[in-house]
């Protein structure tokens, strides 16, 4: 009797607690998922009446040269992933040394992670100036003879932004890899050494395989981030991906189509196509992760 009364009191309390959060989730998380799909098949704009246009937006996307450029740039942006992961692993190995002041360096490397992308982009824009510090150093070291226009040259502008993304992510992934390195049991390394494995063989046959689950997780995170890159491009090169669309990515383009041209239907179509690409990427990586055995070790 008492138990059932307590149980009933709990049910009411539970629903009451869930109510406010659920309302917000329904409005701002579930509704966009449900509403985004049909929106992609309309010509919805704030000013005009809305019509169902079928696949027209998709046809438009496939023939839209600018969207093609944006898509190409977004896929090219995935190049940051291997560079970012390899560099962060090396940094993790570096700060895993038991030396004095190492923890100071760990903290210093994490500073870019906590600061805003706006601040980072402004700082890097200044570093990239033609008369700026990077060109000065490159010329001083004899790497280049003429200053490079990192911001203006269409062939390298996108790579300039990629460097900012990599730079800002290093500390974060380094910390994850450091946790990974420190979770490898010392006895395992010891055992390998007793069996006669040298330093490099221990790294190659013990450390790297055990670190693999972390590598796959981090790669997945950074692939998703890379395809959806927005802030750094927006601050450094504006909503058009200057110069000459050379830094335009799909997220930037979708923002421009929606909030500057007010073509919400077409913007939803672009968003849908990009989500499909991301889904394909993550399914592929999830399958690969399974095979890699993320579960075996955690």
């Amino acid at each position: 009797m008492l138990a059932s009364k307590l149980f009933r009191r709990q049910i009411g309390f539970a629903y009451l607690m869930l109510l406010p959060g659920s309302i917000l989730l329904i409005v701002f998380t579930f509704y966009p998922i449900v509403r985004g799909l049909p929106l992609a098949f309309t010509d919805y704009s704030v000013v005009d009446t809305t019509h169902w246009v079928g696949w027209r937006n998709f046809h438009r996307a496939f023939t839209d040269r600018i969207f093609g450029t944006a898509l190409k740039n977004s896929l090219l942006y995935v190049l940051v992933v291997p560079v970012l992961q390899i560099l962060s692993i090396l940094m993790a190995v570096l700060v895993n040394n038991k030396l004095r002041f190492v923890s100071f360096f760990r903290v210093a490397y994490f500073v870019p992670v906590v600061t805003s992308m706006v601040a980072a982009s402004i700082a890097w824009k200044w570093v990239y100036e033609e008369q700026g510090i990077l060109n000065f150093l490159l010329m001083k070291l004899g790497v280049v003879r003429e200053p490079i226009s990192f911001m203006v040259e269409t062939r390298i502008a996108l790579y300039g932004v990629m460097i900012v993304t990599i730079w800002k992510g290093l500390g974060y992934y380094m910390m994850i890899y450091l946790a990974g390195l420190q979770s490898i049991p010392g006895e395992l390394l010891e055992a390998a050494r007793i069996d006669g494995a040298g330093g490099w063989r221990v790294i190659w046959h013990v450390t790297i395989p055990l670190l693999m689950p972390f590598v796959l997780l981090c790669s997945l995170l950074s692939v998703m981030g890379a395809i959806q890159v927005f802030d750094e491009v927006f601050v450094m090169h504006g909503p058009l991906g200057d110069p000459a669309y050379s830094t335009l990515t799909t997220s930037i383009y979708s923002y421009k189509v929606a909030f500057q041209d007010f073509e919400f239907g077409y913007a939803a179509t672009i968003g849908l196509l990009v989500s499909l690409i991301i889904m394909v990427f993550s399914i592929l990586m999830f399958r690969y992760t399974r095979r890699g055995g993320l579960t075996y070790y955690d």
Partner: protein, 291 residues
């Protein structure tokens, strides 16, 4: 370090060999550590250096690494050139509101899902988690339309509301609530504590580490936010720091030291908080991903 490995007979050579190994390690590792520091902190230090320069030295070539003379004029002037106090105020307001709402709503949502028994519990939880994988193509667009429909356009509430609760946080807090031992709850029940008292007085204090993680995540997300405030706010006077700096960077580019000073001011709070709570920051951000 070396003392533990030493046995009386072989003490000297072993110690010397270990010492040499340690010295070699230090000789390789420290230069690399310093080089990496130059790369990771360089851009901000260069910005700081620029913000402390007088007008003629800003574009000097070869560049001045340490400003001479050092001036704080840019920092004092920048408050006159842009309504920086207002932007800071807006940012503090937005961040405080966002973090508080997340704390309340996420703990309130996570608690029943973790510890109370009621019909539909698993269904609700799995629906929530599934949205983390489903594509959210029109997210920003549909939310913008909803905000306009709710008449919250150009309003700080409209900026905060869509991210006032995050499923990721709910998930994290639910995991934490599950691990709280049952004894606490039982003894409180025997003492006659009500459901809400058990939740607010016993359970929430028990999961402080998870709450710290949520606070840090949201603090960073709101303080550093850029595009959603730009979309929702029409009036630039209502902008938080991120969007304001972005626009000033485009419009005030001819006077870069002011931008530099403004940017430095905008990152100081978060860097200070990070340095004070570095353990929680790093553990929280890394642990949330691993777990």
């Amino acid at each position: 370090m070396t003392r533990t490995a030493a046995s009386p007979a072989s003490s000297r050579p072993v110690r010397r060999r270990l010492f040499r190994k340690k010295a070699l390690q230090a000789a390789i590792v420290y230069p690399l550590l310093l080089l990496t520091t130059v790369i990771t902190l360089g851009p901000f230090l260069w910005l700081l250096s620029t913000s402390l320069k007088t007008g003629d030295n800003v574009y000097a070539y070869p560049p001045q690494f340490i400003p001479n003379p050092i001036t704080f004029k840019n920092f004092t002037d920048v408050f006159g050139i842009m309504p920086l106090w207002r932007y800071i105020g807006n940012t503090v307001c937005m961040t405080a509101l966002g973090v508080l709402l997340n704390l309340m709503l996420c703990t309130m949502t996570a608690y029943p899902l973790a510890r109370l028994r009621f019909p539909g519990r698993n269904a609700i939880f799995f629906t929530m988690v599934s949205t983390m994988i489903l594509p959210n193509a029109g997210g920003m667009i549909v939310n913008f339309l909803t905000i306009r429909w709710l008449d919250l356009y150009n309003n700080m509430i409209g900026v905060v509301l869509p991210s006032a609760i995050s499923i990721f946080n709910v998930f994290l807090l639910r995991q934490a609530f599950i691990t709280v031992p049952n004894d606490m709850e039982h003894s409180a029940r025997i003492d006659g504590a009500g459901e809400f008292r058990i939740f607010a007085g016993i359970m929430v204090p028990m999961i402080r580490p998870a709450i710290a993680t949520v606070v840090i995540f949201d603090f960073m997300a709101f303080w550093n936010s850029l595009i959603w405030p730009v979309i929702v706010l029409d009036d630039r006077a209502k902008y938080p720091l991120g969007p304001a700096l972005k626009y000033l960077n485009s419009n005030l580019a001819y006077n870069f030291p002011y931008i530099a000073a403004g940017t430095i001011i905008s990152v100081i709070p978060i860097i200070v908080i990070f340095l004070v709570m570095q353990k929680q920051f790093i553990n929280g951000m890394v642990g949330a991903v691993k777990g």
